[in-house]
Protein backbone atom coordinates (compact mmCIF):
# COMPACT_ATOMS: atom_id res chain seq x y z
CA UNK A 1 0.00 0.00 0.00
CA UNK A 2 1.59 3.32 -0.97
CA UNK A 3 2.60 5.56 1.91
CA UNK A 4 0.35 8.46 0.88
CA UNK A 5 -2.82 6.37 1.56
CA UNK A 6 -2.23 6.77 5.30
CA UNK A 7 -2.79 10.52 4.96
CA UNK A 8 -6.53 10.22 4.04
CA UNK A 9 -7.57 11.54 7.46
CA UNK A 10 -6.09 14.99 6.96
CA UNK A 11 -8.75 17.72 7.53
CA UNK A 12 -7.62 19.78 4.55
CA UNK A 13 -7.31 18.41 1.06
CA UNK A 14 -3.78 17.28 0.45
CA UNK A 15 -1.72 15.32 -2.03
CA UNK A 16 1.10 13.58 -0.20
CA UNK A 17 3.85 12.63 -2.61
CA UNK A 18 6.08 11.04 -0.04
CA UNK A 19 6.23 10.55 3.67
CA UNK A 20 7.72 13.86 4.77
CA UNK A 21 7.45 15.71 1.49
CA UNK A 22 4.41 17.82 0.79
CA UNK A 23 1.76 17.49 3.43
CA UNK A 24 -1.33 19.45 4.35
CA UNK A 25 -1.75 22.22 6.87
CA UNK A 26 -5.04 23.09 8.52
CA UNK A 27 -6.67 25.79 6.42
CA UNK A 28 -8.84 27.47 9.06
CA UNK A 29 -7.26 30.23 11.13
CA UNK A 30 -7.96 31.23 14.74
CA UNK A 31 -6.97 29.99 18.19
CA UNK A 32 -7.71 26.35 17.31
CA UNK A 33 -5.38 26.37 14.34
CA UNK A 34 -2.10 25.99 16.24
CA UNK A 35 -3.15 22.94 18.32
CA UNK A 36 -4.69 21.39 15.19
CA UNK A 37 -1.45 21.96 13.28
CA UNK A 38 0.64 20.56 16.10
CA UNK A 39 -1.65 17.58 16.55
CA UNK A 40 -1.62 16.94 12.81
CA UNK A 41 2.17 17.17 12.73
CA UNK A 42 2.46 14.71 15.59
CA UNK A 43 0.04 12.36 13.87
CA UNK A 44 2.00 12.49 10.63
CA UNK A 45 5.30 11.99 12.49
CA UNK A 46 3.85 8.93 14.26
CA UNK A 47 2.65 7.47 10.97
CA UNK A 48 6.01 8.14 9.36
CA UNK A 49 7.78 6.40 12.20
CA UNK A 50 5.50 3.34 12.02
CA UNK A 51 5.12 3.01 8.23
CA UNK A 52 7.25 -0.02 7.38
CA UNK A 53 6.77 0.46 3.64
CA UNK A 54 8.42 3.87 3.53
CA UNK A 55 11.96 3.74 2.11
CA UNK A 56 13.24 6.91 3.78
CA UNK A 57 11.80 5.90 7.13
CA UNK A 58 13.47 2.48 6.89
CA UNK A 59 16.74 4.11 5.83
CA UNK A 60 16.70 6.45 8.83
CA UNK A 61 15.86 3.65 11.23
CA UNK A 62 18.59 1.41 9.86
CA UNK A 63 21.10 4.26 9.92
CA UNK A 64 20.33 4.72 13.60
CA UNK A 65 20.70 1.00 14.18
CA UNK A 66 24.02 1.03 12.32
CA UNK A 67 25.30 3.85 14.52
CA UNK A 68 24.14 2.00 17.62
CA UNK A 69 25.80 -1.18 16.38
CA UNK A 70 29.09 0.63 15.83
CA UNK A 71 28.88 2.11 19.34
CA UNK A 72 28.23 -1.34 20.84
CA UNK A 73 31.11 -2.83 18.85
CA UNK A 74 33.53 -0.17 20.05
CA UNK A 75 32.48 -0.02 23.68
CA UNK A 76 30.85 -3.24 24.85
CA UNK A 77 32.76 -6.04 23.20
CA UNK A 78 36.03 -6.07 25.10
CA UNK A 79 35.11 -9.28 26.90
CA UNK A 80 37.53 -11.92 28.11
CA UNK A 81 35.69 -15.18 27.55
CA UNK A 82 38.32 -17.27 29.35
CA UNK A 83 38.48 -15.12 32.48
CA UNK A 84 37.74 -17.11 35.67
CA UNK A 85 34.32 -16.64 37.14
CA UNK A 86 34.15 -14.33 40.15
CA UNK A 87 34.16 -16.15 43.46
CA UNK A 88 30.96 -15.34 45.42
Amino acid sequence: MPSWVSYQFQPAPAICLSSLGVFSVAAAGGPGAAPQGLRGWLRRAYRFATDRNDFRRNLLVNLGLFAAGVWVARNLTDIDLMAPQPVP
Binding site: A73, T77, I79
Partner: protein, 355 residues
Protein backbone atom coordinates in the same frame (compact mmCIF):
# COMPACT_ATOMS: atom_id res chain seq x y z
CA UNK B 1 89.52 15.92 7.92
CA UNK B 2 87.70 18.11 5.44
CA UNK B 3 84.32 16.80 4.51
CA UNK B 4 83.64 15.04 7.79
CA UNK B 5 80.45 15.90 9.69
CA UNK B 6 81.09 18.46 12.43
CA UNK B 7 79.83 17.59 15.88
CA UNK B 8 76.44 19.25 16.36
CA UNK B 9 77.50 21.51 19.25
CA UNK B 10 79.83 23.47 17.00
CA UNK B 11 76.95 24.68 14.83
CA UNK B 12 75.23 26.83 17.44
CA UNK B 13 74.63 30.32 16.18
CA UNK B 14 74.78 31.81 19.61
CA UNK B 15 77.83 31.00 21.72
CA UNK B 16 77.18 29.54 25.07
CA UNK B 17 77.44 31.78 28.09
CA UNK B 18 81.05 32.22 29.09
CA UNK B 19 82.43 30.92 25.85
CA UNK B 20 85.64 32.53 24.68
CA UNK B 21 86.06 34.42 21.45
CA UNK B 22 88.41 31.71 20.31
CA UNK B 23 85.51 29.17 20.41
CA UNK B 24 83.36 31.53 18.32
CA UNK B 25 86.12 31.77 15.78
CA UNK B 26 86.30 27.99 15.66
CA UNK B 27 82.58 27.85 14.92
CA UNK B 28 82.86 30.15 11.91
CA UNK B 29 85.71 28.22 10.40
CA UNK B 30 84.05 24.85 10.84
CA UNK B 31 83.09 23.65 7.39
CA UNK B 32 79.54 22.67 6.60
CA UNK B 33 78.94 19.01 7.09
CA UNK B 34 78.66 17.15 3.87
CA UNK B 35 76.61 14.05 3.40
CA UNK B 36 78.85 11.23 2.45
CA UNK B 37 78.09 7.72 1.43
CA UNK B 38 79.37 5.05 3.78
CA UNK B 39 82.86 3.80 2.99
CA UNK B 40 81.59 0.38 2.00
CA UNK B 41 79.21 1.90 -0.58
CA UNK B 42 81.76 4.19 -2.23
CA UNK B 43 83.67 1.46 -4.05
CA UNK B 44 87.24 1.48 -5.33
CA UNK B 45 86.80 4.62 -7.43
CA UNK B 46 85.67 6.91 -4.63
CA UNK B 47 87.60 10.03 -3.87
CA UNK B 48 87.71 9.29 -0.23
CA UNK B 49 88.61 5.65 -0.53
CA UNK B 50 90.81 4.14 2.13
CA UNK B 51 90.57 2.83 5.62
CA UNK B 52 89.89 4.91 8.64
CA UNK B 53 87.82 7.53 6.90
CA UNK B 54 84.65 6.94 8.92
CA UNK B 55 83.74 9.20 11.81
CA UNK B 56 84.48 8.35 15.41
CA UNK B 57 81.09 6.72 15.88
CA UNK B 58 81.61 4.25 13.05
CA UNK B 59 80.42 4.16 9.48
CA UNK B 60 77.44 6.36 8.75
CA UNK B 61 74.09 4.63 8.52
CA UNK B 62 72.48 4.67 5.08
CA UNK B 63 70.05 7.48 4.56
CA UNK B 64 66.37 6.71 4.93
CA UNK B 65 64.36 7.21 1.75
CA UNK B 66 62.83 10.65 1.52
CA UNK B 67 59.40 9.23 0.68
CA UNK B 68 56.92 8.35 3.42
CA UNK B 69 56.17 4.87 4.65
CA UNK B 70 55.06 2.43 1.95
CA UNK B 71 51.35 2.65 1.21
CA UNK B 72 50.70 -1.01 0.60
CA UNK B 73 48.53 -2.63 -2.03
CA UNK B 74 44.81 -1.92 -1.51
CA UNK B 75 43.79 -5.42 -2.61
CA UNK B 76 40.83 -6.33 -4.73
CA UNK B 77 37.62 -4.30 -4.97
CA UNK B 78 35.51 -7.37 -4.23
CA UNK B 79 37.32 -7.86 -0.93
CA UNK B 80 36.61 -4.43 0.52
CA UNK B 81 33.90 -5.79 2.83
CA UNK B 82 35.41 -9.26 3.26
CA UNK B 83 36.59 -8.89 6.85
CA UNK B 84 33.13 -7.83 7.99
CA UNK B 85 31.33 -10.50 5.98
CA UNK B 86 33.49 -13.29 7.39
CA UNK B 87 32.14 -12.57 10.86
CA UNK B 88 28.55 -13.40 9.88
CA UNK B 89 27.34 -17.02 9.99
CA UNK B 90 26.35 -18.81 6.81
CA UNK B 91 22.77 -20.00 6.49
CA UNK B 92 22.47 -23.69 7.31
CA UNK B 93 19.63 -26.08 6.76
CA UNK B 94 19.39 -29.83 6.49
CA UNK B 95 22.31 -32.19 6.87
CA UNK B 96 25.58 -31.78 5.03
CA UNK B 97 28.57 -34.10 4.85
CA UNK B 98 31.81 -32.71 3.40
CA UNK B 99 34.79 -34.98 2.87
CA UNK B 100 38.04 -33.39 1.68
CA UNK B 101 41.00 -35.44 0.52
CA UNK B 102 44.36 -33.97 -0.36
CA UNK B 103 45.91 -36.20 -3.00
CA UNK B 104 49.17 -34.27 -3.32
CA UNK B 105 50.63 -30.85 -2.58
CA UNK B 106 48.92 -29.60 -5.74
CA UNK B 107 45.67 -31.51 -5.95
CA UNK B 108 42.65 -31.76 -3.67
CA UNK B 109 39.17 -33.24 -4.11
CA UNK B 110 36.01 -32.69 -2.08
CA UNK B 111 32.77 -34.65 -1.92
CA UNK B 112 29.70 -32.87 -0.58
CA UNK B 113 26.40 -34.57 0.15
CA UNK B 114 23.57 -32.24 1.14
CA UNK B 115 20.23 -33.57 2.34
CA UNK B 116 18.04 -30.51 2.26
CA UNK B 117 14.73 -29.80 3.99
CA UNK B 118 13.81 -26.87 1.73
CA UNK B 119 14.64 -28.22 -1.72
CA UNK B 120 16.03 -31.24 -3.53
CA UNK B 121 19.06 -32.97 -2.08
CA UNK B 122 22.29 -32.81 -4.03
CA UNK B 123 25.80 -34.17 -4.42
CA UNK B 124 28.76 -32.02 -5.43
CA UNK B 125 32.20 -33.09 -6.60
CA UNK B 126 34.92 -30.46 -6.36
CA UNK B 127 38.48 -30.69 -7.65
CA UNK B 128 41.15 -28.06 -7.05
CA UNK B 129 44.58 -27.84 -8.64
CA UNK B 130 47.15 -25.38 -7.32
CA UNK B 131 50.39 -24.56 -9.12
CA UNK B 132 53.88 -23.84 -7.87
CA UNK B 133 53.88 -20.04 -7.91
CA UNK B 134 52.81 -19.02 -4.41
CA UNK B 135 52.53 -15.33 -3.59
CA UNK B 136 50.95 -15.70 -0.17
CA UNK B 137 49.38 -18.20 2.23
CA UNK B 138 46.13 -18.21 0.26
CA UNK B 139 47.38 -17.17 -3.18
CA UNK B 140 48.97 -19.63 -5.53
CA UNK B 141 49.07 -19.68 -9.31
CA UNK B 142 47.84 -21.16 -11.51
CA UNK B 143 44.68 -22.30 -9.72
CA UNK B 144 42.00 -24.41 -11.36
CA UNK B 145 38.74 -25.10 -9.53
CA UNK B 146 35.91 -27.25 -10.82
CA UNK B 147 32.63 -28.08 -9.12
CA UNK B 148 29.94 -30.31 -10.61
CA UNK B 149 26.68 -31.48 -9.08
CA UNK B 150 24.48 -34.49 -9.67
CA UNK B 151 22.35 -32.67 -12.29
CA UNK B 152 25.39 -31.87 -14.43
CA UNK B 153 25.69 -28.18 -13.57
CA UNK B 154 29.28 -26.98 -13.63
CA UNK B 155 31.06 -24.14 -11.89
CA UNK B 156 34.66 -23.67 -13.05
CA UNK B 157 37.32 -21.04 -12.31
CA UNK B 158 40.81 -20.55 -13.70
CA UNK B 159 43.21 -18.09 -12.05
CA UNK B 160 46.53 -17.38 -13.70
CA UNK B 161 49.42 -15.01 -13.05
CA UNK B 162 50.39 -13.68 -16.49
CA UNK B 163 53.09 -11.35 -15.21
CA UNK B 164 54.32 -10.32 -11.80
CA UNK B 165 51.64 -7.66 -11.46
CA UNK B 166 48.97 -8.91 -13.87
CA UNK B 167 46.44 -11.60 -12.95
CA UNK B 168 43.70 -13.08 -15.04
CA UNK B 169 40.62 -15.05 -14.11
CA UNK B 170 38.00 -16.91 -16.10
CA UNK B 171 34.71 -18.13 -14.64
CA UNK B 172 32.19 -20.44 -16.28
CA UNK B 173 28.84 -21.52 -14.88
CA UNK B 174 26.42 -23.89 -16.51
CA UNK B 175 22.95 -25.02 -15.56
CA UNK B 176 22.92 -28.60 -16.78
CA UNK B 177 23.76 -28.16 -20.47
CA UNK B 178 23.22 -24.42 -20.85
CA UNK B 179 25.89 -21.79 -20.17
CA UNK B 180 24.63 -19.25 -17.66
CA UNK B 181 27.73 -17.20 -16.94
CA UNK B 182 31.06 -16.73 -18.69
CA UNK B 183 33.28 -14.06 -17.26
CA UNK B 184 36.84 -12.88 -17.90
CA UNK B 185 38.87 -10.71 -15.52
CA UNK B 186 42.16 -8.91 -15.86
CA UNK B 187 43.73 -7.30 -12.81
CA UNK B 188 46.78 -5.12 -12.39
CA UNK B 189 48.22 -4.93 -8.86
CA UNK B 190 50.64 -2.12 -8.33
CA UNK B 191 52.50 -1.16 -5.19
CA UNK B 192 49.73 1.21 -4.10
CA UNK B 193 46.90 0.71 -6.57
CA UNK B 194 44.74 -1.96 -8.13
CA UNK B 195 42.93 -1.80 -11.46
CA UNK B 196 40.54 -4.49 -12.68
CA UNK B 197 38.59 -4.94 -15.88
CA UNK B 198 35.84 -7.56 -16.10
CA UNK B 199 33.88 -8.76 -19.11
CA UNK B 200 30.63 -10.41 -18.15
CA UNK B 201 28.75 -12.61 -20.61
CA UNK B 202 30.24 -11.05 -23.76
CA UNK B 203 28.13 -12.01 -26.76
CA UNK B 204 29.39 -10.78 -30.13
CA UNK B 205 26.46 -12.21 -32.06
CA UNK B 206 23.83 -10.89 -29.67
CA UNK B 207 25.72 -7.58 -29.26
CA UNK B 208 25.45 -7.68 -25.51
CA UNK B 209 28.08 -7.31 -22.82
CA UNK B 210 28.54 -6.26 -19.23
CA UNK B 211 31.73 -4.34 -18.56
CA UNK B 212 32.93 -3.68 -15.02
CA UNK B 213 35.94 -1.52 -14.20
CA UNK B 214 37.40 -1.17 -10.71
CA UNK B 215 40.11 1.09 -9.44
CA UNK B 216 41.52 1.41 -5.92
CA UNK B 217 44.26 3.77 -4.79
CA UNK B 218 46.01 3.83 -1.43
CA UNK B 219 46.01 7.47 -0.40
CA UNK B 220 47.77 6.82 2.89
CA UNK B 221 48.81 3.63 4.63
CA UNK B 222 45.31 3.50 6.15
CA UNK B 223 43.02 5.15 3.61
CA UNK B 224 41.99 3.59 0.33
CA UNK B 225 39.73 5.35 -2.18
CA UNK B 226 38.40 4.07 -5.43
CA UNK B 227 35.43 3.44 -7.59
CA UNK B 228 33.52 1.04 -9.76
CA UNK B 229 31.86 1.59 -13.09
CA UNK B 230 29.39 -0.93 -14.49
CA UNK B 231 28.40 -0.60 -18.14
CA UNK B 232 25.83 -2.91 -19.66
CA UNK B 233 24.69 -3.10 -23.26
CA UNK B 234 22.20 -5.14 -25.19
CA UNK B 235 20.15 -4.43 -28.32
CA UNK B 236 17.98 -1.41 -27.64
CA UNK B 237 19.34 -0.70 -24.20
CA UNK B 238 22.53 0.43 -22.55
CA UNK B 239 23.47 2.14 -19.33
CA UNK B 240 26.21 2.78 -16.81
CA UNK B 241 26.35 3.02 -13.03
CA UNK B 242 29.18 4.63 -11.09
CA UNK B 243 29.94 3.73 -7.47
CA UNK B 244 32.52 5.38 -5.24
CA UNK B 245 34.30 3.39 -2.53
CA UNK B 246 36.40 4.21 0.48
CA UNK B 247 38.05 2.12 3.16
CA UNK B 248 39.79 3.19 6.34
CA UNK B 249 41.89 0.65 8.22
CA UNK B 250 42.89 1.33 11.79
CA UNK B 251 44.72 -0.87 14.25
CA UNK B 252 41.65 -2.62 15.59
CA UNK B 253 38.87 -1.68 13.18
CA UNK B 254 38.03 -1.26 9.53
CA UNK B 255 35.32 0.96 8.07
CA UNK B 256 34.22 0.65 4.45
CA UNK B 257 31.68 2.58 2.41
CA UNK B 258 30.36 2.16 -1.13
CA UNK B 259 28.06 4.87 -2.42
CA UNK B 260 26.50 5.06 -5.83
CA UNK B 261 23.36 5.72 -7.80
CA UNK B 262 22.09 2.22 -7.09
CA UNK B 263 22.45 2.51 -3.35
CA UNK B 264 24.95 2.35 -0.55
CA UNK B 265 26.78 -0.32 1.40
CA UNK B 266 28.52 0.48 4.68
CA UNK B 267 30.34 -1.96 6.91
CA UNK B 268 32.26 -1.70 10.15
CA UNK B 269 34.56 -4.44 11.45
CA UNK B 270 35.96 -4.33 14.97
CA UNK B 271 38.44 -6.72 16.53
CA UNK B 272 37.86 -6.29 20.24
CA UNK B 273 40.47 -8.83 21.30
CA UNK B 274 41.83 -12.22 20.29
CA UNK B 275 38.49 -13.84 21.08
CA UNK B 276 35.81 -11.41 19.95
CA UNK B 277 35.22 -9.86 16.54
CA UNK B 278 32.18 -7.80 15.60
CA UNK B 279 30.76 -6.76 12.26
CA UNK B 280 28.03 -4.20 11.51
CA UNK B 281 26.55 -3.79 8.06
CA UNK B 282 24.08 -1.50 6.34
CA UNK B 283 22.80 -1.92 2.81
CA UNK B 284 20.44 0.37 0.94
CA UNK B 285 19.12 -0.39 -2.53
CA UNK B 286 17.36 2.51 -4.22
CA UNK B 287 16.15 0.37 -7.10
CA UNK B 288 14.40 -2.14 -4.86
CA UNK B 289 13.58 0.57 -2.29
CA UNK B 290 14.94 -1.64 0.46
CA UNK B 291 17.35 -1.21 3.34
CA UNK B 292 18.77 -3.79 5.72
CA UNK B 293 20.91 -3.68 8.82
CA UNK B 294 22.85 -6.61 10.26
CA UNK B 295 24.92 -7.10 13.38
CA UNK B 296 27.21 -10.11 13.64
CA UNK B 297 29.81 -11.34 16.04
CA UNK B 298 32.37 -14.11 16.16
CA UNK B 299 33.74 -15.76 19.28
CA UNK B 300 36.97 -17.72 18.96
CA UNK B 301 38.01 -20.14 21.66
CA UNK B 302 41.04 -22.04 20.41
CA UNK B 303 41.47 -23.63 23.83
CA UNK B 304 38.09 -25.28 23.34
CA UNK B 305 38.55 -25.77 19.56
CA UNK B 306 35.38 -23.80 19.06
CA UNK B 307 34.16 -20.90 16.94
CA UNK B 308 30.71 -19.37 17.34
CA UNK B 309 29.13 -16.86 14.98
CA UNK B 310 25.91 -14.99 15.74
CA UNK B 311 23.65 -12.77 13.66
CA UNK B 312 20.88 -10.24 14.25
CA UNK B 313 19.34 -8.22 11.44
CA UNK B 314 16.55 -5.77 10.66
CA UNK B 315 14.39 -8.47 9.04
CA UNK B 316 13.71 -9.79 12.54
CA UNK B 317 16.10 -12.71 12.00
CA UNK B 318 18.43 -14.12 14.59
CA UNK B 319 20.77 -17.01 14.03
CA UNK B 320 23.94 -18.68 15.08
CA UNK B 321 26.41 -21.31 13.94
CA UNK B 322 28.68 -23.26 16.26
CA UNK B 323 31.76 -24.98 14.82
CA UNK B 324 33.65 -27.43 16.98
CA UNK B 325 36.72 -29.37 16.04
CA UNK B 326 36.99 -32.87 17.41
CA UNK B 327 40.68 -33.61 17.90
CA UNK B 328 42.55 -35.86 17.36
CA UNK B 329 40.18 -36.70 14.49
CA UNK B 330 40.33 -34.37 11.46
CA UNK B 331 36.61 -33.70 11.90
CA UNK B 332 34.69 -30.46 12.41
CA UNK B 333 31.08 -30.47 13.55
CA UNK B 334 28.92 -27.44 12.75
CA UNK B 335 25.47 -26.75 14.23
CA UNK B 336 23.34 -23.88 13.00
CA UNK B 337 19.89 -22.45 13.63
CA UNK B 338 18.09 -19.42 12.19
CA UNK B 339 14.77 -17.95 13.28
CA UNK B 340 12.76 -15.27 11.51
CA UNK B 341 10.36 -13.81 14.06
CA UNK B 342 8.42 -11.71 11.56
CA UNK B 343 7.69 -14.53 9.11
CA UNK B 344 7.56 -17.16 11.86
CA UNK B 345 10.10 -19.39 10.12
CA UNK B 346 12.72 -21.53 11.73
CA UNK B 347 15.31 -23.78 10.17
CA UNK B 348 18.30 -25.54 11.57
CA UNK B 349 20.98 -27.81 10.24
CA UNK B 350 24.21 -29.49 11.00
CA UNK B 351 27.22 -30.48 8.98
CA UNK B 352 30.18 -32.75 9.41
CA UNK B 353 33.43 -31.74 7.71
CA UNK B 354 36.10 -34.40 7.37
CA UNK B 355 39.62 -33.39 6.36
Amino acid sequence: MGGECCPPQQWRRRPRAGASSRSRFRQRRCPRPRWRRPAAARGAGGRRAGPGMGNALGPAAPRAPRRGEPLGSPGSFDELHRQCKEVFPQQMEGVKLIVTKTLSSHFQVTHTVHMSTLGPSSYHFNATFVGDRQLGPTEAFPTLIGDMDNSGSLNAQVLHLVAERIRTKAVFQTHQTKFVTWQFDGEYRGDDCTATLTLGNPDLLGESVILVAHFLQSITSRLVLGGEMVYHRRPGEEGAILTLAGKYTALKWVATLNVGYGGAHASYYHRANEQVQVGVELEANTRLQDTTFAFGYQLNLPQANMVFRGLLDSNWSVGGVLEKKLPPLPVTLALGAFLNHWKNRFHCGFSVIVG
